[in-house]
Subunit: 303 residues, 2 copies
């Protein structure tokens, strides 16, 4: 479907937490004239340990908030668990187009892969849903999925390299006598964790007769690990970032290339909402978004 020539549309972006801000970041880059409302249902995370029925109810409430209260004309579900388990429920709950992160990731992998074999790294909940394997199968790919539960906490600790910069400084490092040395050691830990996970995944791929040439990042936190992942994969292996793939799919799906209206100011372009943990959202969210989130508004969705 294509909704061309709308002026200044509002795109609603939903996640159970704030990892989906990496998707919002990719959307802003491609749709600089759109306005965005982002909701993190932080009071009820993690969705991954909850039943499909509960996730569907929470996600539908969140989607309705973005459409009814914030006037969103399109929704991007920037949450792998909700995309895997509740996309239908969300589509039934709101009268606007809805895009998840999993199918765009699988489609981009289909474009990238020559061997037809791809690797997927994600959280435990996403891997257990086998949503990427199913989406890859639907486009003719074989996928081997691996849960990497340490990567989200490593990103949230800030033990990463900011793109084009040195290691991210955390509050703890500011108190440290040798912050830069400490940060280098922290990044080395993350690099080693990535190396171990990828070695395990490649060993399993070899054991199963896979010949993978593409790695799909199936978690919205993982784009913050991109510099380390680029170094860790074998030469020639392509990396598919679901956040980027979803933003590209959004541009195609919504068909909206920006109006003649002036771009909104950075301050006006995004409004962020959270159901809890506003402080953590504001503190960590800017790393995911690549710029300050601004004031995050607390909302109560009940339930």
């Amino acid at each position: 479907m294509s909704i061309a020539n709308s002026t200044s549309p509002t795109i609603g972006v939903f996640d159970s937490g704030f990892g989906g801000l990496t998707v919002l970041r990719a959307l802003i880059q491609r749709l600089p004239r759109a306005q965005f409302a982002f909701l993190g249902d932080t009071a009820r995370l993690p969705y991954g340990s909850k039943s499909r029925r509960t996730i569907a109810r929470y996600a539908a409430q969140s989607a309705q908030f973005l459409v009814r209260e914030q006037g969103a004309q399109f929704l991007v579900i920037a949450c792998n668990t909700a995309s895997a388990l509740a996309l239908d429920a969300i589509q039934n709950a709101v009268p606007v187009p809805v895009l998840g992160v999993i199918e765009p990731g699988a489609s981009a992998a289909r474009q990238a892969s020559r061997t037809g074999d791809v690797l997927v790294i994600a959280t435990g909940a996403t891997v257990e849903s086998h949503a990427y394997a199913a989406a890859c199968r639907a486009v003719g790919l074989r996928a081997l999925e691996k849960a990497c539960p340490l990567l989200v906490p490593l990103v949230e600790e800030g033990w990463t390299i900011a793109a084009g910069a040195g290691p991210v400084a955390s509050a703890a490092q500011a108190a440290s006598a040798q912050p830069q040395v400490a940060a280098t050691q922290q990044v080395a830990v993350t690099a080693e964790v990535i190396r171990i996970y990828l070695a395990e995944l490649n060993a399993e791929a070899a054991a199963q007769g896979f010949n993978p040439d593409t790695l799909v990042l199936g978690c919205t936190h993982y784009p913050l690990l991109r510099p380390l992942l680029d170094r860790a994969v074998p030469a020639g292996m392509k990396i598919i970032d679901s956040a980027e793939a979803t933003a590209e799919a959004a541009v195609r799906l919504f068909g909206w290339q920006g109006s003649e209206k002036a771009s909104p100011s950075a301050q006006d372009q995004i409004r962020c909402f959270a159901t809890d943990s506003v402080e953590k959202f504001e503190r960590l969210g800017s790393r995911f978004l690549g710029r300050p989130t601004g004031k995050v508004e607390l909302v109560d969705l009940g339930g």
Copy 2:
């Protein structure tokens, strides 16, 4: 209070997850003739990100299940968050003695410390509550607390050394070509994470003029890191395991030293209940308990 000479009492043990099984393990060692009912409120974890009021409601429901449905005559709250935020609410909700993990940890630190300065490592939620700092202050200690968010996921990944044994083998390692090598590399990551956290904590202690001689493990997952922590602390620093301290306090508080009745069989001695994620509980719980959990029963507490 002392309830001596009871025969075969049932002790209820409660946690938001299954980390509290380390407390149950310590209790079983000291009270081999007691029977135990353990409840992990896994459907509603993590408690750490929820409000005090919500935590109090969840914890009170859990306590009532153990007392009313399982006949527990004493309760041990093997959960730092619930001990910090809901001990009063639990005591008001049930007519039996209730013991948390924080005061026993602080009391044991008081016994151990000569300098009066102690360090506490815990999850983010426990540190934010400053419950250990308050409990330490109440017994005349100064405490410096540090959140170590990577340690719980590292324990749950099994990147640890089993006490008196080599590294724990995970399912992923079983699939690996060189499982023992991989496990050694994983344990090295955990050792490095511990080294970084303790270096940051010691730097902050020095900056604040602390002279610590005792480290309190303020999380029920951390006893599984004990061999690595023993190697990481400076010579002469004592480590207080809240699980051990709580079990000792339980023996003193409940005054029950076992009846003449024969010990229950291992199979009959414990019953484990969870509100969700029974599979994960059974799979990981045995590492915390030091023996199989047996069949974990699913219960619905509503809400």
